[in-house]
Structure formats: C-alpha cells, structure tokens
Symmetry: C2
Amino acid sequence: MPGRNKGKFGNDQVSELTAGRLSVYLRCLNALDDEGTKTVSSKALAEQFHLNAAQIRKDLAYFGEFGVRGVGYYVKELKRHLRQILGLDRTVRVGIFGAGNLGMALADYPGFRREGFVIVGLFDAAKAKVGQQSRGGVRIFDVADFKKMVKKEPIDIAVVAVPAAAAQSVVDEVVSCGVRAVLNFSPGTLKVPAGVRVKNMDLTVSMESLSFFLARGDADGRA
Amino acid sequence: MPGRNKGKFGNDQVSELTAGRLSVYLRCLNALDDEGTKTVSSKALAEQFHLNAAQIRKDLAYFGEFGVRGVGYYVKELKRHLRQILGLDRTVRVGIFGAGNLGMALADYPGFRREGFVIVGLFDAAKAKVGQQSRGGVRIFDVADFKKMVKKEPIDIAVVAVPAAAAQSVVDEVVSCGVRAVLNFSPGTLKVPAGVRVKNMDLTVSMESLSFFLARGDADGRA
C-alpha cells in the first residue's frame, strides 16, 4: 500500500502529544462510523470535531496515511490503522488498584471497554471489599493475591487509584511483577525504574491549571 | 520584596505546562510542610520528588521567586506564593455535573478540598438521585435548578462527568450561566465560545498513550 511506511513507525520523534492526537482522531472516527459515515476529509473532520485540518493531515501523513484525493479518508480503514498504531489491535489487559469511588468508576468507564481494554479486576487491601464487584461486574480481588494471579494472567497496564500514602508501594509491587505501564491517579510523583512508563493524572493539577487561567483573566484557549 | 516581579505574571508565554509544574511543586511543598520541613533547596526538592532542579529554579525565577543563598526556599513562603500564582488564595467554587460513579468519586477527591476548592454540589438529571449525597457529604441537586442556584452562588469551574451524549448540552448550559472554566471527563471534544477554557481529561486517550508506548516497545520515560 503506497505510503504505508512502517519504517517511520518506531521513530523517537513520535511524541506523546502525537499519540494523544491520534487517540482523539480515533474517538472522532468511532463517532462517524457509528453514524454510518464511510469517508471523511481532513477538513470535515476538523470542522465537525473542532480540530485543526492541517495538523490532522500532518499527523496522519507521518504514519503513511495520506487519504485519497477527492474522497478523503476511508473511516473504517483509518480506524483500523490508528488502532494498530496505538497498539489496540491486540488485547490490552488492565488491573485497577484501589476499589474506592474512583477505582469503581474507572472499572466501569465505558470508553475502556469500547477500545478493547480488558479490565482484569480491581485490587484492594480491604478484606471486606474482596469478592464484591463494581456495578459493571468487575470483581474485587485481594491485592495480596496479585503476584500469584499475574503469573497466570499477565497485565499490561496498572491503574493506581489508591490513597497517596499507598501509591508508591503499590507501584513497586506491580513493577516487580513485570508491569511496564502505570496510569497514576494519586497525587504526587512516583519513582519507577527505567523501562517503566508512568502517566500521571493528577486531578488537582488539572483543577489548578483552570484556577490559574481564571486568576490571570486569560481564558481564551483550550487545554 | 526583590524580584517579586508581578509584571511578568500576565505574560502570555506562561504556558499551561508551567502552571502544571507549579502545581506539582505545590504538592511537594505541602508534603514537606506536613513533615515540618522549614526550608528546601531546588536540588533537595528535585531529588526527593524526582523532578529537575534546573527546571524548578527556572520556573520559580520566572515568577520572581529566587530562594536564599545557602538556605534555599522557605517552604511556607513558597507555598503561599505558588498558591497566589495559581489563584488559590481566593475561594474557587466547583460544581460537578453527573452524579454517577465518577462524579461521586470527584466530589470526594481529597486533593480538591486540601487546596481550598469548594465543591458546591453535584448536579444530575435523575430525579431519584436528587437530595442524596456523596459519602463525603456533597449534596446532589437537580440539574434543572442549576440556573437558579448559580445566580445566588456563582461557580468558577464546572466539572463534566456526564455520559458523552449529554456533555455538550451541559457545557452549553453552564457557559450560558457565566461559567468560564470546564474540566471535562467525557470523551470527545466540546465546543465553547472564546473566553471559556476547557481542560479535557479523556481517560481513554491516557490509556491509549500507554498502549502506544507498550506497542512500540519504547517505555523509557515518564508521561
């Protein structure tokens, strides 16, 4: 297929920002596919979803997806390609640590299932919670059993939704079990060895960035 | 006070990334203050919290906070200064839209209260939920009453935790009531007029950025 240049694929210049944008494009393509739309131009995509058409073309061209003159992009094909680039063409197994409000909310977050993330279970230290399940049916396991469970059924991503004081020890434990990617909802910074990636979702930081812009009286953009 | 250069404060070059880092420093200073630490050098701050010392100095110098030779920064004073820069020296009032798992989790998120965000209430369209409250005691109001309530008690930030299909109409409603900052947890993009700031917390995008790095076999950094 012309332009499907896999060589560029492993390039270090592909930033996390690009990955984030590809992920947003995938959300938009899902919506178009649900509506039955077969093809879309970068211009129409940009207009419908409040994105930047030039940026879309640049991002997709980087991955060898050039669209077809007079047609635009084939929605289903571009979806498949983006899913492949984002590593969603295989099963991504997720364990959620902490079965409090936040952990329970994340376990049932509809977007995860839609993209094929498999929520293996919730893990908590509170014996009273063990054996229960989220509204969506994700079971709560004893965190003490994680090491044993993960040997049989490895997980790819650990979501940390425990109180701040417990976060580092949870991360140490999952990393020692071979997990290489962590989505962290606890405040503060976590220490991980090289080769492990942490994505911090500090909710207070996000709120404060809004507070910052309100305080400056400068709210003319999107974050 | 030398170097407390307020002139630079409104500069457009102050990026959201800087605001995010200041917010992380504030988290670290809170931890130090809790421990009773009186002063800290950029080097010690960097080492203890896995940050970059040169970046800390650069960020703080930008806001006129230079530290004291041989002492470093006074923890309480720097905290106060950062809180002022981040607009946390006044009350920031927050309304949360959607009283599902996620909204309930956000209502009780301990970091918000700690920094002085006041969660005014949860707002939901489901009559059965109205009048109930979160575990932490945040009351659930009828979203239909929001317009009336906000006239008496304005809110600064609207947190959107409703299903994707309802998100745009919720945002249109809060914006029409004068809210200028939105923290959005629903997937997809939201349209807002100029002068309103949206910060998107798309959880699927975050998971996919981890999946992307796992797929590339390149996990040598922090997100």
